[in-house]
């Protein structure tokens, strides 16, 4: 028996709060889960700074990756099994791609990538194709297997059904994270009838479509997605924590570039500050490492790095106001000047944040060559875009939904001390 088809002597199961059980029979999958690059995902939270708002949101990318794998496994082993449109020889590629799709995420990845101009997708590719345990395992299937998995994740794989299952507007990734994030945050949104959706998924030539009889289950999924975005992913307080986290990294980088003598040398960050990092450096980072540095940096001499680190570790977050840039962009300039006069560096303490800076998206009906929409398979065999059939989806798709906030340390402006009149003037402008 080849390694690709080798089964475990006994099925292994992981108990999971979302899918109840995650089933593993394939030796390859079992070996990949045991690799150190995959185990690293235990130390990276799925929702970054959201745990500072929803205290249950401590779940990791490890949990989520297993969940995505399980959903895809159910689709290919149950829903698609035996259907002539599905090429069963793609099973292992799609299972590995599901399991490994988030492998390149770093600690607090959105903020980290922003500051160091990185892309986790490139790291996923680098881990799959580089000198790693995961690569060594995948190569045992065949020499070109790591490349196939990388292509499936990068959406450049020839079989579009494989790509659709991992990354489309109704993919296993979203179906898992919506339910998992809802469970761990404790919100009552994010629930939908996934079993029903899996039962009505059908493979077609270059995509996966949904039988029209399952439209209401998909409507529920779209509504969950919509509500989770506003209630969890765009939560302004969690954004405040992310703003501070980003500014900590910016400050540490700026200090390093200026030759600042850190009391605790930022060894793990050095190559990132200098732009000379390797894959090994990247894999050595996790959220525990970052939080340890933040603890050290509270005691640094630099008052900005110290203050920002203290704010993040001890959850003293920035206050925020709604900010209409169209109306108030002159006010922004004025505020920057006033902050400088008050001795508060606006570069770190006056931050405009908009929803386009977030890594989440809404359903798009795919007008004009955007993303592939969700397609319904009508009884006549015709394919119809979801929002053309569903009034509910039509009502919430294609609408502009943007959100802008201005973050600032209110405590700096209200504390007793010097420049009270100036700070009062700033507060009045901000209110």
């Amino acid at each position: 028996m080849s390694y690709a088809t080798q089964k475990l002597a006994e099925e292994k199961v992981f108990k999971d709060p979302v899918h109840r059980y995650i089933h593993v029979r394939d030796q390859v999958i079992w070996d990949v889960i045991g690799s150190k690059e995959f185990q690293r995902l235990r130390r990276i939270k799925q929702l970054g700074t959201t745990y500072l708002v929803f205290h249950g949101a401590e779940h990791s990318r490890f949990n989520h990756s297993l969940g995505v794998y399980e959903i895809v496994r159910r689709i290919v082993d149950d829903s698609f099994n035996g259907r002539p449109e599905w090429d069963a020889s793609e099973r292992l590629v799609v299972l590995c791609a599901a399991l490994l799709h988030d492998l390149g995420h770093g600690p607090f990845s959105h903020a980290f990538e922003n500051v160091f101009d990185l892309d986790h997708e490139e790291f996923t590719r680098a881990i799959l194709l580089g000198d790693t345990e995961v690569n060594e395992i995948l190569k045992r299937v065949s020499n070109d297997f790591p490349q196939k998995v990388a292509d499936a994740i990068a959406k450049t794989y020839p079989n579009k059904q494989v790509v659709s299952l991992i990354s489309s507007q109704i993919d296993a990734d979203r179906m898992d994270y919506l339910q998992r994030d809802a469970y761990f945050t404790g919100v009552s949104y994010g629930h939908f009838d996934m079993e029903r959706i899996l039962r009505v998924m059908r493979p077609r030539e270059d995509q996966v479509v949904i039988k029209s009889s399952g439209m209401h289950a998909v409507e529920d999924y779209i509504m969950s997605r919509y509500q989770m975005y506003w209630q969890v992913y765009f939560h302004p307080v969690s954004r405040s924590a992310e703003v501070i986290l980003t500014k900590i990294l910016h400050r540490a980088k700026a200090l390093s570039e200026s030759g600042y003598d850190f009391e605790q040398q930022p060894t793990h960050f050095k190559s990132f500050f200098e732009g000379t990092f390797s894959l090994k450096d990247y894999l050595a980072l996790d959220e525990g490492v970052l939080l340890t540095y933040f603890q050290y940096w509270i005691n640094e001499k630099d008052p900005i790095l110290s203050d920002l680190s203290d704010r993040f570790v001890n959850r003293k977050l920035f206050q925020y106001i709604e900010f209409d840039l169209a109306k108030d962009y002159m006010k922004m300039r004025e505020l920057e000047q006033l902050f400088k006069r008050a001795g508060i560096d606006p570069e770190y303490y006056l931050v405009f944040d908009s929803s386009s800076d977030l890594p989440y998206d809404f359903y798009r009906p795919g007008e004009e060559g955007e993303r592939i929409p969700i397609h319904l398979l009508m009884p006549s065999g015709e394919i119809r875009e979801l929002s053309r059939e569903s009034e509910i989806v039509e009502a919430i798709s294609g609408k502009r939904r943007t959100d802008h906030k201005l973050y600032f340390p209110e405590d700096f402006l209200t504390e007793d001390g010097k420049k009270k009149a100036l700070k009062k003037q700033i507060l009045e402008l901000l209110k």
């Binding site: 990068a154 020839p158 840039l325 169209a326 944040d353 998206d361 798009r364 004009e368």
Partner: protein, 171 residues
């Protein structure tokens, strides 16, 4: 963060309006690949490199009144045209972003003259520019098989990229 918004307004302003969301996406992607300073992240999608961040940013700019979006009904499909507004122009001045370089102006002008199909071809080839030319073409046929790009079109796309790169180097 305001700077990134302002750069998109500038881009559309220099182009004197861009018709087609796909065209706008591909133009910004190509400019980014030529090392012009755009921060939007792109991923490969069915229609080639696509940035959700750029889509959202353009939506925000329309909401703010800095860009104007016009929906054009073409019968079997719809198309969107984007133009910088007076408020958008004023905003770019206030945001104090760097002036657009002559090489970027030349690049935008050349891209604007091309069809979105051609720009989809160019951006897809650029997406695989880490591969040797033969493999780039092979990959193009894998991911864009249905578009049936001809050898002439592919050669023209390579020449187009070369011209843009030369233009970039000259300025």
């Amino acid at each position: 963060m305001l700077g990134e918004h302002a750069k998109i307004i500038q881009f559309i302003g220099v182009a004197d309006g861009i018709t087609g969301r796909k065209k706008l996406q591909k133009m910004v992607y190509i400019a980014k690949k030529l090392q012009f300073p755009y921060k939007e992240k792109f991923e490969f999608h069915f229609y080639g490199p696509y940035s959700e961040e750029l889509t959202l940013r353009v939506e925000e700019l329309c909401n703010m009144g800095f860009l104007n979006e016009e929906r054009q009904d073409k019968g079997s499909y719809v198309q969107y045209k984007y133009q910088m507004t007076d408020a958008g122009e004023h905003f770019t001045q206030m945001a104090q972003v760097e002036e657009v370089s002559p090489s970027l102006i030349a690049c935008i002008e050349q891209m604007k003259q091309k069809s979105s199909r051609f720009l989809e071809l160019v951006s897809t080839l650029l997406y695989f520019d880490h591969l040797p030319k033969e493999e780039q073409i092979e990959k193009l046929h894998v991911v864009k098989g249905k578009l049936n790009f001809t050898e002439e079109e592919i050669e023209e796309a390579f020449e187009f990229v070369m011209n843009l790169m030369n233009e970039r180097a000259i300025h």
